[in-house]
Structures are given as structure tokens and as C-alpha cells.
């Protein structure tokens, strides 16, 4: 099949996150017709989602309409639809209205949601952060907490309103804790009359022995010190055993808090379930070395919905660059197969890990080179602006960050989804 077939090979890509979009981009020019299906109309830059949740960035600054990103690709059709199953025998994807989309090659890039390890009842009190709606809901929670504190006269209840607990000290947890501390200590104080928002407690609770477990030991220690220097209380080795409307229990200690945020774990999408394929405890499909589903050479699965030990024998981490590398590999595989060629198994190359802690505070772990503090923070900022799509979004985010940097002003401090009667 080295010539273009009369009826082009049909590739269906489910999910337009980092992995699915990269596969689509890399298939440009290949003799295929592509259908991209997503149940959202937008691609989301998840690494900055915590900035929407903390009123730093607006929703439209980190999201792009998928069909707009693919408007120049006449070989791509975008569908705003929810996949509910896969009829692998008929090579069809089933949509929510019962209609089907046929494929020759399928790419599952359906991501993950947050997970509560068998405590789904916690979600109500400790929401997580994966979608734009999650972020605006968290933003409402956080901003309403300060508003309620301003009106509260009972000192204990006021203290609970001003206590913010973040569970899980990975990058998202650390970034949320640091930004909420800055919000409380630098952005909000001049705006309130009855409460001193600088007295807000931000508590980061981690079940493991250190923050940013994916980073080198000394960077973890530095991150912890930095968090503490900007007013975050770091609690280590304390798994949370209870969450209710009034607070959390960890290490046998109850902490009264009206805002609790879950950043402790994820569960893969239902891709493995759709295929009745082997998966790990987090529901991640265990893929073959070429990223296909076992027994289905025509089905690839990539990103947060899979697990594979392709990082020098270790599992590939659930981060955007990994999903992108997998998307790139799958595009190359599809092209190679159409040319009757073979490819070596997928291998993940780790470029580095970055996390922002606060203003002029970040850590970067490039392996040999480790950076911390102001330099790391500038590199973090420039890298993230670079990875945004398009000049307009880059300018908009740069402008927003400039205002936060110079004036501690966060323009996106909007409580939406109802009036004061409805919320919180």
C-alpha cells in the first residue's frame, strides 16, 4: 500500500487532549481520512488548569475549540460527541445517540478523571480538577469561602471558612496550595474589611513522605521549604481517612475546613472496559510495546488512559509530554504500516519535570541539571507560554501574568453559576 488507496484508510481518534491532538497533527499528509471525536468542543491546556481554579487565568486563555485548531486540515472531520462503547468486532465506535463511526485504525486518547480510592462520597466535599467546569466550580468554592468569612461573626466558623485543605502534594497540589496562599496573602487583603485574609490557613496534606515525589530529593525539600515560606502548612506521611462537610481527618487529627480540594489520584477513562482489556488498579489499559491494545493491532491507546513501562523499564508518567510522544509514535506507526514498514517499540524520553510554587519560586528537574527559585520560575513561565497554541493566547496569558506579577491582581475573580443565595 505505498500508493494512495481509492478509499482512504479511516483513522478515528477519540479524545483531543495532548495525545490525540498530536497524533492528528502528525498524520498530516498521510493517505488517511481522520475523524476526531471529543465530548468537549475544546482542547484544554491542563497544566495551567489550577490557574483557572485560583482566579489567575480565564477559561478562554487555556482552551481552544478543537475544530478551530484543525480548520486547515481538510482530511479531518471533528465530531462533538460522547463515545459510549466500541464494537471492536465490527470496527465501530458507538456514540451517545446510538450512531456508529467506522474505523480501520482506532486511537483511544480518552484521558483520566480524579479518583477517590473507593471513597466516591468524598467527591461532594473534596472536588478535583480535570475540566474547565471543575476549575470554575473550585474557583467559586474558594472565592465564596472568603465572602462567607467576611460575613461570619462566629470566630470558629470563620476560621473554618478561611481554612483551605489540599489533598495530594504532586505538582497540581503544590501549585494549588502555593497559588491559594498568594491569593489570600497578597491579592485579597486590601479588598476585605471584616476579615484579615492573611490569616487564612492553607494546608497541604500528603500520604507519602515528601512533596513532589517525582522530583529529586533536594528539589522536594526545597519545594517544601518554599511552600512553608509563603505560608503553606505541609503535612506529610498522613493519609486522609475521612472527609465530610466540615473538614478532614488525617493521622487521627480532625481539621475543620470549608474548602477541601482533591489532588491525590486519578482513574483512567473507560477505554480498557470498552475493550475488556487488561488494566491496572487505576483502570489504565496495559498496552503492548507498540501502544496497541492486546489482541487488537488496529487499536492504539495513549496518554493517561494507558500504562506502559517504556521509560527505561519504569512506567511512563501521566504528563502532557508523555501523551504527546505517544501520539507522535502512533502517527508514525500508522504511516509505517501503510508503507509496509515496521517500527521499534515505543520508548519514552523524559525531558524534565517543572512545578511552580509561587511568585519567583519554581523547581525544574532536567535530570542532570536541577534548577530552583527565580530562574526556574522564569523558565517555567516562558516554557508554558511557549507551549500554548497561537500568538493570541500567548499574548493574553502574558498580559494576565504581567498584571499578577506587577500588581498581584487576578482579573478572573468571578463567582458564577448562581447568585449568593445559590452558591456555597
Amino acid at each position: 500500500m505505498s500508493t494512495t488507496p481509492a478509499k482512504p484508510h479511516r483513522v478515528v481518534i477519540v479524545g483531543a487532549g495532548f495525545g490525540g491532538l498530536e497524533a492528528t497533527y502528525r498524520l498530516a499528509g498521510a493517505p488517511v481520512s481522520i475523524t476526531v471525536i471529543d465530548r468537549r468542543n475544546h482542547h484544554l491546556f491542563q497544566p495551567l488548569l489550577y490557574q483557572v481554579a485560583t482566579a489567575s487565568l480565564a477559561t478562554s486563555e487555556i482552551a481552544w475549540p478543537i475544530r478551530y485548531l484543525l480548520r486547515d486540515r481538510r482530511d479531518v472531520t471533528t465530531l462533538f460527541a460522547t463515545v459510549t462503547g466500541i464494537a471492536a468486532d465490527r470496527r465501530c465506535v458507538v456514540l451517545e445517540d446510538g450512531s456508529e463511526v467506522a474505523y480501520d485504525t482506532l486511537v483511544l486518547a480518552t484521558g483520566a478523571r480524579h479518583a477517590y480510592f473507593g471513597h466516591d462520597e468524598w467527591e461532594k466535599w473534596a472536588p478535583g480538577l480535570k475540566t474547565l467546569e471543575d476549575a470554575t466550580t473550585l474557583r467559586r468554592h474558594i472565592l465564596v469561602a472568603f465572602e462567607r468569612a467576611e460575613r461570619e461573626t462566629d470566630p470558629e466558623r470563620r476560621a473554618a471558612r478561611l481554612t483551605f485543605v489540599i489533598i495530594g502534594a504532586g505538582p497540581t497540589g503544590v501549585e494549588l496550595a502555593g497559588t491559594i496562599a498568594e491569593l489570600a496573602h497578597h491579592t485579597l487583603p486590601p479588598d476585605f474589611r471584616n476579615v484579615d485574609t492573611r490569616k487564612a490557613r492553607v494546608v497541604l496534606i500528603e500520604a507519602g513522605p515528601r512533596v513532589l515525589a517525582g522530583f529529586a530529593d533536594d528539589l522536594s525539600a526545597y519545594a517544601q521549604r518554599s511552600l512553608e515560606s509563603i505560608g503553606v502548612e505541609v503535612v506529610l506521611d498522613q493519609p486522609v481517612t475521612e472527609i465530610d462537610r466540615d473538614g478532614v481527618v488525617s493521622g487521627g487529627q480532625r481539621l475543620n475546613a470549608k474548602t477541601i480540594i482533591w489532588a491525590a489520584g486519578v482513574r483512567a477513562s473507560r477505554a480498557a472496559e470498552w475493550l475488556s482489556a487488561p488494566h491496572d488498579r487505576a483502570g489504565r489499559l496495559i498496552v503492548e510495546p507498540d501502544l496497541t491494545a492486546p489482541g487488537h493491532p488496529e487499536i492504539f491507546a495513549i496518554g493517561d488512559t494507558v500504562t506502559i513501562n517504556a521509560w527505561n523499564g519504569k512506567p511512563v508518567p501521566g504528563i502532557a509530554p508523555a501523551a504527546k510522544q505517544e501520539g507522535r509514535y502512533v502517527a508514525a506507526m500508522i504511516k509505517a504500516r501503510l508503507n509496509g514498514e515496521k517500527l521499534a517499540p515505543f520508548r519514552y524520553k523524559h525531558a524534565g519535570s517543572l512545578a511552580q510554587i509561587g511568585k519567583r519560586l519554581a523547581v525544574i528537574d532536567f535530570g542532570r541539571i536541577k534548577l530552583r527559585g527565580a530562574l526556574a520560575w522564569w523558565i517555567w513561565g516562558i516554557a508554558h507560554i511557549y507551549f500554548l497554541i497561537g500568538l493570541r493566547h500567548r499574548l493574553a496569558v502574558a498580559l494576565t501574568w504581567l498584571w499578577i506579577y506587577l500588581r498581584d491582581q487576578r482579573a478572573a475573580r468571578l463567582i458564577t453559576q448562581g447568585s449568593s443565595k445559590v452558591v456555597g
Copy 2:
């Protein structure tokens, strides 16, 4: 009372729209302590709300946290709370949790909602536009309509998905119709594969004999021609008699449409009801010449929740400049009273009327001077950027408009509030 009293005069201002905020600003330096109460945490620049509904601007570009705007005013306390009534005998405002806020002078600036003239059941099918949530809900409606059309195979149903009906040809209706036409005809075409969004029908239905009834006749005629030139169908003298899930009936004719937007009428807030005060048919409190409620010299009411014939004997229009002038007058009245002085009755001065129709198309009616076309459009744009609060918002909106002007790109094309299964 020309000296500052030991216990300052307590002014409570309900509503931080254009009127309430202006009164607060103008009371700076007066010997009063002010409490501003709003059930939203943000001031909203309503004249550009239609641009959020049509995916042109982001929510945070036209909204500001109220307490942020008043952060430097130590004499002002901001409360995020919903007023549920007024105990005028005890001079207290009652909040949603039953607590009370005492006043010496009360300013009601509680605005208006859209109204359906006894057809409240229409709201479900023809939402209106007054809040940020209204705008993001409308945005979702409009964007989902195009998405559903892309997946629809039945030609009739597809046509209904691509028919947008706007009821009411005042400035909001005209601006919505013009912008939806531009979205369909210029922004979206390259993004879709199965439908030609240029074939979308945008129908503006008006019960009266002309569009923009508040403008001079020749500007109305020009506006209608301009709308038609950019693909809007203008239907005049046809009151809508029926609205349901499949479309509207006007002038005995049924029009199948999946997106219907209500821009035809407003109803005042419950301010008149709270005071058992006289009101007109739209619920607007009929205020005294000094903007006080009849029988309550200590209660002022301003903006869209009142009616007064203070424009050379005609009713003051329900627009932002009118609310601001009333807010300014009330602040002057409060200060005059504290000094034992008197003021002449309120008189409204009309600066002019502006409406945008489309790119390089606008009308401005300054009374003697009337402008239309490209010059009017530039003045419209510059005026609106000027009236935004703060350099950051001005830069952000200018950047966004620049991209729309140069590239027809609308960055805020986000369908939120649920996935493809939930919406539409």
C-alpha cells in the same frame, strides 16, 4: 450637620451596577459609612454582554470583582449577599439568611431582568441576556446548534439547527443578530466539514414598525439595510404569539428554529414590591423628582428598577449613562442633605445612542449629529474600550477585538456546563 458626626451617617447601596457603583464612587470623602450589597460578586459591563453570548469576549473581560473596585475606599464595606426585603419602619435591609443591615439612607439600584409579558413558559425556549450565566448559557446554545447541525443528516432538522431567531430589535437584539450572522458567515465556515455555516439563517423579529426604535428614523432604516447586507432577515410588525421547543410563530407564520433568543422586554427588580410602592406595568418603581420612593425621603431608587419622566418630560431610558447620572445625583443629594442644602430635581441629559451592527457597521445618534458606517463603528469601539474599568481590561478587550477584526477569530468559543451528552 456640617461637621463630621461621631457616628457617621450609614448609607446602604443595594446593587453594584452602573448606578449603584457611581453613587458609591461619588460619595468618596463624604462623612458617611457605606455598605454595598450585591448578590453577585462582580460588576458587569452589560452593554458588551452580547459579545460574551456570541463567543467574542471572555466573561472576565467585562466583569470586575466589586470589592476589588472598592478596595481603596476604607469607608466602604462590600457584602456578597441577596436582599430579600426591606423593613422600612425599622430602616433595615433584610438578607437571605435573615440577618439585617441598618441604614440611615438607602439606595436601591437593583436593576431589571428580562420579561415575557405573561408568557413565562417561553423562557425555557427563548432565554434572555442579563447575567454572565445567561451569556455563557446562550453561547452554549449557539455553539451547540452548529455542532448538532454538523452531525444531523435530515435536511429539515439540520435547517432548524441552523436557524437563529432573535426576538426584539432594540440595541441588544440588533447586536446579537449582527454578531451571530458574522459568526456563521465569517468565523465558522472553515471549521465545519458537513454543513456550510454560511447557510445559517439569522432572523430578527420585531413587534414594532422598525429596528432601533430609540434612534432617528434614517438611522433605523440604515441599520435595517446594514443587517440585511450581512445576511440577517429582518421581520417587522410581527409580534411573536407562540414559542416552543421547535420554533416560533409570528404573524401566523411558523418558523422552525432550535435557537431562540429573547431581547424583547424587561421587568424591574422587586424594589417596588419591597416598599409596596407605586410602579408601572413593568414593575418599575415610580420615583419622586428627587429619585426618592414616595413617602420615603430616606430611600432613593435609581437605574432600570425605576421610571421617571425626567428627560424633557419623557421617561429616562434604561441605559447605563442614565443609571450613572442618577447615581451621581443621589450622591450629590446625600451630601447636600448632610450639609443642610437643597438640590433641584433630577434631570436626565442624553449624550447619545450607539449600536454596533457588524464589522465596520454601527450607528450613533448624538441628536444633532448622526453617524453611520465605519466611522461610527470605530467611535463605538473606542468609546466602549474607554468605558471599561482599568488598563488591564482595556488592553485585553482591545487585543481580543484586534484578532476578531484581523482574522475573524473568536477565542471564547467554549461550550461549558457539561459534555456533549448533557448539553443541547
